[in-house]
């Protein structure tokens, strides 16, 4: 089935000439037409524009500088797209059509990708849920804030889509929906043209159905953007080469916190996985976290609330009625925070980010469950980001991938955490783990 093709496969078949972009895009659009009414994964699907772009692609010769030539992609609706409405799940932005693409979208288009549409998000990527359901069970949340991004990829509506994370908004929906979520190091992907939550915590990243697909997208998306003051300028980009191979990774498990807070299904799946990985040659050691870990969740919340409130203050003052209860109370609380408390939190963030390095002295990658439980029942909340928050806070790169199904047949994910700027090693380990796991279940749609 064309709509189930992976990103890497689809891109290479188009490049080889054995697949037309227009057929691939049509397959995605047909799939969306058939199942979107039950899932609500999209804020907007650009049926006409995507087909036109695909037809144009099919008249052009593929080239090495366009690794995504003719492949459709979804983009979270907080990321601005020129000429396509960008509403960020918000009443405030109803009908808003940006004039310019976000930097990340420019990179996607330059690489040949076709923007299929905008995926549903919680309001301004915060708390108030989108209507999206979980493709594995429509009574369960797909997670958030990248709700539509994860659901669309899991439901084979599109090979990949772009999400964003401030707490756990890539990792959690990836885990809940049984797909791969990759959050590179803070600053690797430009945030120019993206509606913010919290500028010192926000990340963009791809959700896909394989680690290879995530790596391919990351190579396209990452790189210094002088137009984003928080974009990092580094020579050690992993953008040029494929991640190296890996056979006996040194894995670390946290001494405390994660397994204590996870439910029985998640603990069992995690332990089963690590046992299998050791049998396959991995080393596994226990890692002590710095004392500053203790305050991470409290300080993360403070930084997020203060920065989000600063960012939304003007909009909130002008049209408070467009703000739903979750975002409203975030802004109201955030505006009351004193600078002194925020400054202490920012100091703590720097200290934790630096102290965490010691935990990686003898390991390649840290392993934790991706979420405390599989996707919870109900669409009123998008679930608990507690296991993802520390890595948004310190900006270390993470990959989430599915490792099995729960007793309720909902996906369970593992979270791999790498060292800052060492995405190449993280992806190599993630690919190795993916091969050991061999997860092949798909939602029944």
């Amino acid at each position: 089935m064309l709509h189930s093709l992976s990103l890497t496969n689809a891109a290479s078949r188009i490049r080889e000439g054995s697949l037309r972009s227009v057929d691939l895009v049509q397959a995605s659009l047909d799939r969306i037409a058939s199942i979107e009414p039950d899932l609500d994964a999209w804020a907007l699907v650009d049926f006409e524009g995507a087909l036109l772009a695909a037809e144009r692609c099919d008249t052009q010769a593929p080239s090495d500088t366009r690794p995504l030539h003719g492949v459709p992609i979804g983009v979270k609706d907080i990321v601005q797209t020129a000429g396509l409405p960008t509403e960020a799940g918000s009443g405030f932005l109803r009908g808003h059509v940006p004039e310019e693409d976000a930097h990340a979208v420019t990179r996607l288009r330059d690489a040949g990708a076709i923007i299929l549409g905008k995926t549903a998000t919680t309001e301004f990527a915060c708390f108030d849920p989108a209507d999206t359901s979980n493709p594995w069970n429509r009574e369960h949340t797909p997670g958030g804030s990248s709700s539509g991004t994860a659901a669309a990829v899991a439901a084979r509506m599109v090979p990949s889509a772009i999400g964003s994370q401030t707490g756990g908004s890539i990792s959690r929906p990836a885990a809940y929906c049984g797909v791969v979520g990759f959050k590179p190091t803070y600053g690797r992907i430009s945030l120019r043209g993206v509606y913010q939550v919290s500028y010192s915590l926000d990340h963009l990243g791809p959700l896909t159905r394989s680690v290879d697909d995530a790596a391919l997208l990351a190579r396209v998306l990452t790189g210094h953007d002088p137009g984003d003051p928080f974009s990092v300028c580094r020579e050690d980009a992993f953008t040029r080469d494929d991640p190296s191979s890996c056979d006996a990774p040194r894995l670390g498990m946290a001494q405390a916190f994660f397994l204590d807070a996870a439910d029985a299904d998640v603990v069992a799946a995690t332990n089963e996985l690590t046992t299998a990985l050791i049998e396959s040659g991995a080393e596994l050691s226990t890692v002590a976290f710095p004392r500053s870990f203790r305050d991470v969740h409290k300080m993360h919340r403070l930084v997020m609330y203060a920065e989000a409130a600063a960012y939304h203050a003007d909009r909130f003052g002008r049209k408070p009625d467009t703000f739903r209860p979750g975002l409203r109370s975030l802004v109201e609380e955030g505006l009351l925070l004193p600078a002194a408390a925020y400054i202490e939190a920012r100091r703590h963030k720097v200290v934790f980010t630096q102290e965490m390095r010691a935990a990686f002295r003898k390991i390649d990658v840290l392993v934790t469950p991706a979420t405390p439980s599989p996707a919870p029942r109900g669409l009123h909340s998008t679930g608990d980001p507690a296991f993802n928050v520390p890595w948004s806070y310190c900006g270390y790169p993470t990959v989430v991938l599915p490792i099995g199904l729960s007793s309720e047949s909902l996906p369970i994910g593992i979270q791999l955490v790498g060292q800052p700027y060492d995405e190449a090693r993280l992806l190599a380990v993630a690919r190795w783990v993916e091969q050991q796991v061999g997860f092949e279940a798909t939602p029944d749609l």
Copy 2:
């Protein structure tokens, strides 16, 4: 006169064996005994300890790893010194004796320097003046907050001393007292063990009587300290090699602001200097500043007030009566600042820091007057840091050096601003300017 020896000369004479440390230290102590009562440059002079240390030095062979072997140095009294009282000009810290040296002091001692004493500072390096007078005219301020540091060096009590800067606390007293003040790039010198003003604006740096002396001290003081989370870790340190030579530097003058705000003596001295530098081979071009420059002073104040208040909140709560009026109102105002305003200022700081790079595209060094006027009359205020604040804010390195005397026989300084982490080029240009100027006046004491 031994007490007038430059740091570099003193160090090489000791190394060659033609000067004993104990004689050099005794000369400094004699000089202090004779003129300190009129100047109040020191919070504390360690007469006994310094002589003991000098005697110990004279029994040891000099070594290449101890470039300051046997040379006395002053340390601003916000920098902690093990076993020597550190009061930061504050009633709160009266009688406080630290147990550990600040990282910078450890580096000085490891390099063989002898801590002669603690130089007077405004209260916690903020606004409330020390008793220090300007060696050129005792009715004028020496500037601040590194008041005693500048006065002691200018008065030939010690070849060099360590100051700190959050707004203009190295550059301004250097200019007012006719000495060299060097502020390396933010993060180059560890701040561990230094009482803070504002952690994102604070810098340590040497005050000396020549650029060579400043470079020598900077080589000792700079380098990554894992114990200071804001210490930068970079390969391009200028710590290993002497700055390269320079013959035709490309200088830039700001289009606006500095000369508009300077008094007639300062404008005349600056113009005379630039004319002479062009005749000596320099290129001089006018540099446009980014639009973000407009808000620099307002935002710098906001960041400083918020961070200083956060830092002092606990002390202020416990012993408010020990806080003098300037620091008290700083803390009271800072504690009322909302996080949202601070966050906007921090964002602005990042934007300005990045946008200023464009101003350096065609120049090596930016040239501005160091202060709007020579040292003002009166000891109730330490003068105006407006010309130094932008470089504390963006963390770019600066050198201030004396270029002449005003109609009232007070020193006038020039400020050279380099690109971040390019101290080698900045120092090379500063040495070239110093040679062209040939400033040799000394205060009459």
